[in-house]
Symmetry: C2
């Protein structure tokens, strides 16, 4: 089982794996370097020896998801808008379910993003995907609904409960479709159904 891996790579990988698990379950700021070191079976100094600070550990942990996201976007961008939207829904659901809580770390670092330029690209790609999800409509409301959808999806993956991957995937697909592919026409007059406007 490739035990012959050089010690350097072996340790790096172990740290990265444990960091992924911890970030996903406790969030970024709530996970200390000591936590990661303990889980990886080494000292905190070793983590800092292999990674240039805590942010670098996160960057390494996020790298696979970032690459996968880039692939989806690249594929979607050479498709007509509605097909791109369809692809974005399916693939992003898979991506989010697969990465689970890890993607939710984004909302953890979003307020702290000033001075963390290594994540700017990831964020801008997320925004790009949101635009693709909005479909051919350039309406502001549709764009906002797409953002709403992404937020819901990230939140859902952050608290997955005891759902299986398949259940989670079906949920995401259903919800995204209802939000982004509303049944064609006939948006009912807004607010007509709200009985009491006072209070």
């Amino acid at each position: 089982m490739a035990e012959s891996t050089p010690a350097r790579e072996r340790t790096r990988r172990e740290i990265e794996q444990q960091a992924v698990a911890l970030f996903a379950s406790k969030g970024y700021s709530a996970t200390s370097l000591q936590d990661i070191a303990t889980a990886a079976g080494c000292s905190k100094a070793t983590v800092l020896y292999h990674f240039n600070g805590k942010a670098a550990v996160l960057a390494a942990a996020l790298e696979p998801s970032k690459q996968a996201l880039k692939v989806v976007i690249a594929e979607a961008e050479q498709l007509p808008a509605d097909e791109a939207q369809e692809l974005a829904i399916v693939r992003f659901s898979e991506l989010a379910v697969g990465a689970r809580g890890l993607i939710a770390v984004l909302s953890d670092i979003l307020p702290t993003m000033d001075g963390m330029p290594e994540f700017a690209e990831l964020i801008s790609e997320g925004i790009r995907l949101t635009e693709i999800m909005a479909g051919q409509s350039h309406d502001q409301l549709e764009l906002d609904v797409a953002k709403f959808a992404v937020n819901g999806l990230l939140g859902e993956c952050r608290h997955p409960g005891e759902r299986s991957d398949a259940e989670l995937l079906e949920l995401c697909n259903t919800a995204l479709r209802r939000l982004l592919r509303p049944p064609a026409t006939s948006e009912p007059a807004l607010g007509a159904t709200s009985p009491a406007t006072e209070v």
Copy 2:
């Protein structure tokens, strides 16, 4: 302007108000007692003199939202399921938009909730509201969609961008309606859109 307010109440209120603003803009754990004290124009010790620890400050800040939530639930619970759902959609949107980032603090404390029993009631009420939002359907998928909706709404209120209250409210209403009130009949055969049922 009611300057005759006893010093006790005046200081308490000032601390609470500043805490609300800080929690909403920076989150719970990222806001220190010193931050609150500085904003309120008093010392950190004064904050602890009036409130029994940081969690108590949060509890006081969350109290109005909690009461409003209880009112909505109480009203909804003596209505038939579909009317209750309608009411929950409208009122919860208003509530969330009004409280803005404050409600989003919940996701900040959710992982830390062990040993913070003072918020258990608030959480359980949020879950109760989710059930009401699911409508008359007791389907697990519908329940999960409702959770998805709440997550999306909370996420949207956490990053409100430069949207106005009215825009935000319209967005929430639209999104919740699309998710929770799918166009009457003809749900396509369940799982028809999810290609792989194995896994």
